[in-house]
């Protein structure tokens, strides 16, 4: 059987169970979990009034901006940390302490530094994406096989050339893994990011619908985030496969 078909088996079973437990038997009352049809109606409403598209686009913009800024800083920094023992020792402690802090905890500072709105949202997503990219890049550079470095030296390469032509390509698979994890975590931060001063976005949609007890619309927002995440995952997995060595 086709792989795509197999991967759809469980979702379809869950959908059927969901329908049975809500619409057809009412075992689970609608204020706990809305029925599939209610979610469908909410989806059609949000689609036709255009707000789902706007929300998706604004969330995508924030996530991609936060992610790109994170990648732009984390990749060079990761290369330096992986390359230089001194840089690694200097940064070990600070990274160890900063990394476990949930991005949501930064919200007060995000507001102080970037004000209410887009800047803060991007900052929160940046924080989520930054560390996975940094750590995977550093790890990839550090694990570069010594024989590649030495053969480059014996062929006359300079330190800088080795950095560019050996460490960087050798670490590329790890860097892509870091980017994949990074954008995933960035996406997970959207609700937190859109708590501050946003008036659109999928996180905002989830927050406002929940506060108005419109759980069907909240589920539409949740599933949309999930599907975007799946899209990113697919994109990065394809890039990983392009590296065929």
């Amino acid at each position: 059987m086709n792989k795509t078909l197999i991967s759809l088996i469980i979702p379809v079973i869950l959908l059927i169970l969901w329908a049975i437990l809500t619409t057809y038997t009412g075992i689970i009352p609608s204020y706990l979990i809305p029925s599939p049809s209610a979610v469908w109606t909410a989806f059609v409403n949000l689609l036709t009034n255009g707000s789902l598209i706007t929300d998706t686009l604004s969330t995508l913009t924030r996530v991609i901006l936060g992610f790109l800024i994170a990648a732009l800083i984390a990749i060079p920094l990761g290369v330096i940390i992986g390359w230089s023992k001194l840089a690694q020792n200097l940064s070990n402690f600070i990274i160890g302490v900063l990394r476990p802090i949930p991005p949501i905890a930064w919200i007060p500072f995000a507001i102080l530094w970037f004000g209410v709105g887009l800047g803060s949202a991007i900052f929160i997503i940046f924080l989520g994406s930054f560390f996975p990219i940094l750590i995977n890049t550093a790890d990839g550079v550090r694990r570069t096989d010594k024989v590649y470095i030495e053969s480059a030296y014996t062929m006359g390469a300079s330190q800088l050339q080795i950095l560019k032509k050996v460490y960087l390509p050798a670490a590329l698979p790890n860097i892509i893994t870091g980017l994949k994890v990074g954008i995933g975590i960035g996406l997970m931060c959207t609700v937190a990011a859109e708590m501050i001063g946003s008036d659109n976005g999928l996180g905002y949609l989830i927050l406002t619908s929940t506060s108005m007890l419109d759980s069907a619309s909240a589920i539409v927002g949740m599933l949309t985030i999930g599907i975007i995440g799946l899209g990113f995952e697919y994109f990065f997995r394809r890039s990983e496969r392009k590296i065929n060595w």
Partner: protein
Amino acid sequence: MTIKLNDVSKSFKSQEKELEVVKDINLTVEDGEFLSLLGPSGCGKTTILRMIAGLDFPSKGDLTENGSPVTGPSPGRGFVFQQYSLFPWRNVLDNIAFGPEVRGMEARERYESARNYIEMVGLTGFEDSYPHELSGGMKQRVAIARALANDPEALLMDEPFAALDVQTRHKLQEELVRIWQEEDKTIIFVTHNVDEAVFLADRVVVLSSSPGEIIKTFKIELERLRDRTSTQFIELKKEITDLVGR
């Protein structure tokens, strides 16, 4: 290129203990000579080669190339590693063109030269292949071409054929002799295989194990390509094998 080792010793520190791996090596490798360093594993022969390459440094004594001290790696001393050292993210052509590339040769020129070396090692048609698509023997051919692409005066080879099956190894040995005859390089070839050393080298330097010291040097004057079944070849092999202690 003349390479001179003068009372060279090398010890490594490990957990407070000093381990001497190479001791009092005096050796002159003449320009254009094919020299083999032969010894059991752990005799420090690779360490000697790495010091000549400038990848390691003597703890005592001095090491010179054409009269000047070796201070680090140089494209004039090409190195062929024992394990597969090809860049897996570069195809055959780009692997071979690496040296000329980092030394600033123009793309057209370096690819043209890389193609010549591909032809020399018999890999025409595999320019676009990636290392993982090649067999072990082909990979080592590329490694040799890559080291030659810098047009080094000396080629330092660290058991480059050790991982290959006998037929492939013999084939590559023959080709190496042909390349050496055509290209006029100094070759220092490290091996633990007596047959290989006798087949290839002008001079076989036999080392003892830990610490590695020179026991004896054999000059081999058999004509090339050498016949493995000739009496002289077999006798030489036997004499050296007895010395190495199997």
